[in-house]
Symmetry: C2
Subunit: 604 residues, 2 copies
């Protein structure tokens, strides 16, 4: 149920994504035109093991009359499982028909089911659902299995059912590994929703949510479990997305998890682990692409960037200021308006990153490179953007800068470097993007915000390197905005850190920069909210700067007008300010919308 499509489509996608095996979920088989024998044969041809059939529901804690019906259902399920060639059936704890809250009774009933299953060479894995009527804790499920004392009866451990309830997973280590028949993994965001809805709609792949799956798998491996790591991710989005792509995404989450588990505890053997490479130490460059990048060049020149010239073999130019490098690419860009096409990271070990992206099956991006040019590693992010990496230079500028000719020399300016790069993601891609940057580049999700704009809420998640030198706020446009396309659906921006943003604003204005107009009411509100120095307030108002405060930290920033899909932001951080001025985003969104409506007239 992690992916969309028919059972046959799912099997093909899982095999292509690199999975060794799959579970068969009953509703998929019931709806399939193919017989169980055809499914078995197809899986065999694709090299996929069929590891488990599920679920057999509401089997224990029932009275005798009901148990007779359970045995009839179980017999049919085991017969079907045998036709599929599967040796393990998942039984989840009773939610509907249980009337007897007694471990001995449940154990006796599991024992009887174990006899029935064993006659066909099948075993049953008993799982405590978080919302089970009497059994909702894996420790109780294990006690019942222990009491049942039948070789064909073991437990299934599902991270969601255990971690969503806040149950301590450490007791897993007390279960003999061979009695853990199966392990199901799901991550999830922290939600205070009822556990059933949370489970059915909002599970995520490992690495995308808030659960400690590394610790969870550590306990399971310490218990001696050697079986499959299976994903059971009910999620409204993944049910709709392309099956092949979601299967690859799912597989990437398991490779990330295996590596992280191996790294977490040297005592755990038998896991595939790659040589470590740290997260990027900085942003090497950002690349904006368009048929005509002149409007961006104008903005950069107004902000005091230096034109470093044209690439010696491509219609590409470079602009720099401090450690910030902006590449403008007009290659094969017919009809394209300015948009963020790529980001480059500085890394400590470029080869290690290359091995990591391949291990995580990221899609390599071809970039035309001549022999005398520096080859950079490159992959495609889920939203289609290029992500490149290269060895951080020991000092000064990276080697590839020398490929640009006829430009000015590097000069010091008030711009320090890239502060953050913000990208709008389609709503059905955001989770995949989070995992992509985590699994391939070691970035970690930090904060989550919802920003109200005039056309809906913009959901925002920030990915950052541990030292905070690379920060990528990923925004999700409201679905109707996204459906209509247009600027707001794709809005991206690059924020540059400045030593003194007021100085930069004054200089930029002298050079004619059009700063996004901010309404007067905003400054009245600022005066009411903060006890600001009057002269500073007047200057902010005059320059079109916006302001935020967080504890002792302060954030002064300005937005340029939008060019194509991109705008630039210039920011100054004072004290320990660590945010992105989210409180100012509603005003920005409204002003951008109003500005978009008049921009054609103003600029024509």
């Amino acid at each position: 149920m992690c992916v969309s499509g028919t059972l046959v489509e799912k099997l093909h996608a899982c095999a292509a994504a690199g999975f060794d095996g799959v579970e068969i979920f009953a509703p998929d088989l019931v709806a399939a035109r193919e017989s169980p024998e055809e499914i078995r044969a197809l899986a065999a041809r694709l090299g996929l093991r069929l590891d488990l059939y599920q679920p057999l529901r509401d089997v224990e804690g029932v009275d005798e009359a009901e148990f007779a019906r359970v045995l009839r259902r179980a017999e049919a399920t085991f017969a079907l499982t045998e036709r599929l060639g599967i040796d393990t059936v998942l039984c989840c704890s009773n939610v509907a028909t249980a009337t007897i809250d007694d471990d001995e009774t449940s154990a006796a009933q599991l024992r009887a089911l174990g006899d029935l299953a064993a006659a066909r060479g099948i075993r049953i894995a008993f799982e405590a659902l978080a919302w089970g009527r009497f059994v909702d804790d894996y420790r109780r499920a294990w006690r019942i299995v222990e009491l049942a004392d039948h070789p064909a009866v073991g437990v299934c451990l599902d991270s969601f059912h255990i971690l969503s309830r806040g149950h301590d997973p450490a007791a897993i280590r007390t279960i003999p590994g061979e009695r853990i028949f199966f392990v199901q993994l799901a991550d999830a965001p922290r939600l205070s929703l009822d556990v059933l809805s949370w489970s059915r709609h909002h599970r995520l792949f490992p690495g995308e949510g808030a659960f400690d799956l590394v610790g969870f798998m550590g306990h399971i491996l310490h218990a001696g479990y050697v079986g499959p790591w299976s994903l059971e991710v009910f999620n409204d989005t993944f049910r709709q997305t392309d099956v092949a792509r979601t299967a690859a995404h799912a597989h990437r989450s398991l490779r990330w998890l295996e590596d992280a588990v191996a790294r977490s505890d040297a005592a755990l053997g038998g896991l595939r682990m790659l040589p470590d490479s740290a997260a990027p130490s900085g942003v090497d460059f950002v690349e904006i692409r368009a048929e005509d990048t002149s409007d961006v060049e104008e903005l950069l020149a107004q902000a005091g960037f230096t034109s470093r010239g044209r690439h010696r073999t491509k219609p590409v130019t470079l602009w720099t200021a401090g450690r910030a490098r902006v590449v403008l690419n007009e290659q094969h860009a017919r009809d394209l308006v300015p948009h963020l096409a790529a980001i480059g990271f500085e890394v400590d070990d470029a080869d290690a990153v290359s091995r990591r992206v391949d291990d995580r099956r990221c899609i390599r991006l071809f970039r035309r490179t001549y022999a005398a040019e520096e080859p950079l590693g490159a992959v495609v992010a889920p939203d289609g953007m290029g992500v490149l990496w290269s060895q951080a230079a020991d000092a000064g500028e990276p080697g590839w800068v020398a490929e640009f000719e006829h430009g000015g020399a590097h000069v010091a300016t008030g711009v320090v470097g890239v502060d953050h790069v913000s990208m709008t993601q389609p709503w059905h891609v955001i989770d995949e993007s989070v995992l992509f940057y985590a699994a391939a580049f070691g970035l970690r999700p930090t904060s989550v915000t919802d920003v109200p704009g005039p056309q809906g809420l913009v959901h925002s998640r920030v990915l950052a390197s541990p030292d905070g030198r690379v920060r990528l706020p990923l925004n999700v446009a409201p679905p109707i905005v996204a459906e209509r396309g247009g600027e707001a659906a794709h809005a991206q921006h690059i924020a540059f850190l400045c030593a003194d943003v007021r100085e930069l604003a004054r200089a930029a204005r002298r050079r004619g920069m059009e700063i996004l107009p901010i309404p007067d009411n905003y400054y009245d509100d600022l005066a009411a909210r903060f006890d600001l120095d009057r002269a500073l307030l007047a200057e902010l108002h005059d320059l079109g700067l916006v302001y935020d405060r967080d504890g002792d930290g302060e954030y002064l920033h300005l937005y340029t007008r939008t060019v194509g899909q991109v705008f630039l932001e210039f920011v100054e951080r004072r004290g320990g300010y660590d945010g992105f001025g989210a409180g100012n985003a509603p005003v920005r969104l409204t002003s951008q919308r109003a500005d978009g409506a008049t921009a054609g007239r103003v600029r024509s």
Copy 2:
């Protein structure tokens, strides 16, 4: 915050929708380019009162140093409110800075604020937020206001904050009406989400959710409140939808509520109430429209419907079976595939329905009608479908049937009538549709289901008349499916009730009907789930019928192949079966998808 857009767009939309006044929400004003004086003048020109400014947050239960800051903020807010010409400011209970859990302290602070406000002719309405730190219950908010004992300090009552916490609204009657300064209304679905997220994302307009707003308003009116009924609906969808349309939808919800409140208690005076008209007593007809409706005619003929001929002035034909009437319309339908274009209801008082739809500002639909023809009332539903109504005939067929010529005579068949009509709605239209059918036709939302299909979950809500004779399951296609368009995004079906669906299936098969193929695995599963008679199971399998059971009730049904966007269903209800076979929908969805992939080939 009920609607999208800038403040100016919102004011225009609210005026056009018929509102008398609006609240001004601070973030809207802060982001507006217009000065407070311009907003005030625009509202005056549009005939909109500015009834309230909100919010002033975190004012009470604070220490002295913090209260000094509160007074500074309040002074700025009151000054702004005065510029807007507004006389009431909403203060919500403290969530962030309260440290003193003492009613006397809070009362003293509200009293001081009351003095400050009164100096400008302003009053403050204190509201208990459901997640207030110390004050989270309207009864406590009222106690504090009573203690404050200041003519400029009263309470604001918000249905969400009261009903979401399960607080008994009856105590509202003990508050003197003149001390209730403001009333905010929101409905909401029952969710077990934390109350803050529930409030911020999932509120609904009155009539769309699960709250008893009729009872709530009854208490408020009995208390003697005579002020505005305001809507405060935070909803992720309405923030995105067209502002004019959502404002009209919002206004419709208040008209529905006013009428329902008036009807609930004859002692409540001063409310606008219409003469009552019952919900429809039945489905008069369904209309399918297409450039060429032959494929539908073929299905109807195979199912035993009688062709009643062609309309005497339009390219429209009529088919009937029992009380089921299907109109096929080829008028102005170039390039359109068969789709459900309209539904007709039989009503007890057609004039009363006409007055009701006009009162609720539904959009009238023009239908070409000649003098000698029966004029039917017609409006456009939110999804674009036509909804018509006419006086139920005392006996026999309605008068408009006589307008069809050259057809056969009415004959008895195994079809009894229309069982239900199912329509797929865009996800951002479903709430509006629910209110439309409730406010205009007296249908009520009954059950809610999520059906897993191969391309995502299909969310389904059923609207029904109180006696169940009209039933409309409304489905919401998964957003990606909807975005791509195509059949699944628009799937509609008409289900006909049969006395004996096996008999109908046998006859239809003899006449060559293609029934949707159901996989063999389904019947194996049926045998495992239910203790079905073997002969019956074999017959179901042979005929392609599906089966459901609910207590003692049984449901046997079959689906035709899809023609354009429409398929037909034939159902037999046994015992008290009251559902729609939702358990069979996943198999249907998967089979339809597989069938769609091969249908072109099969039918060409």
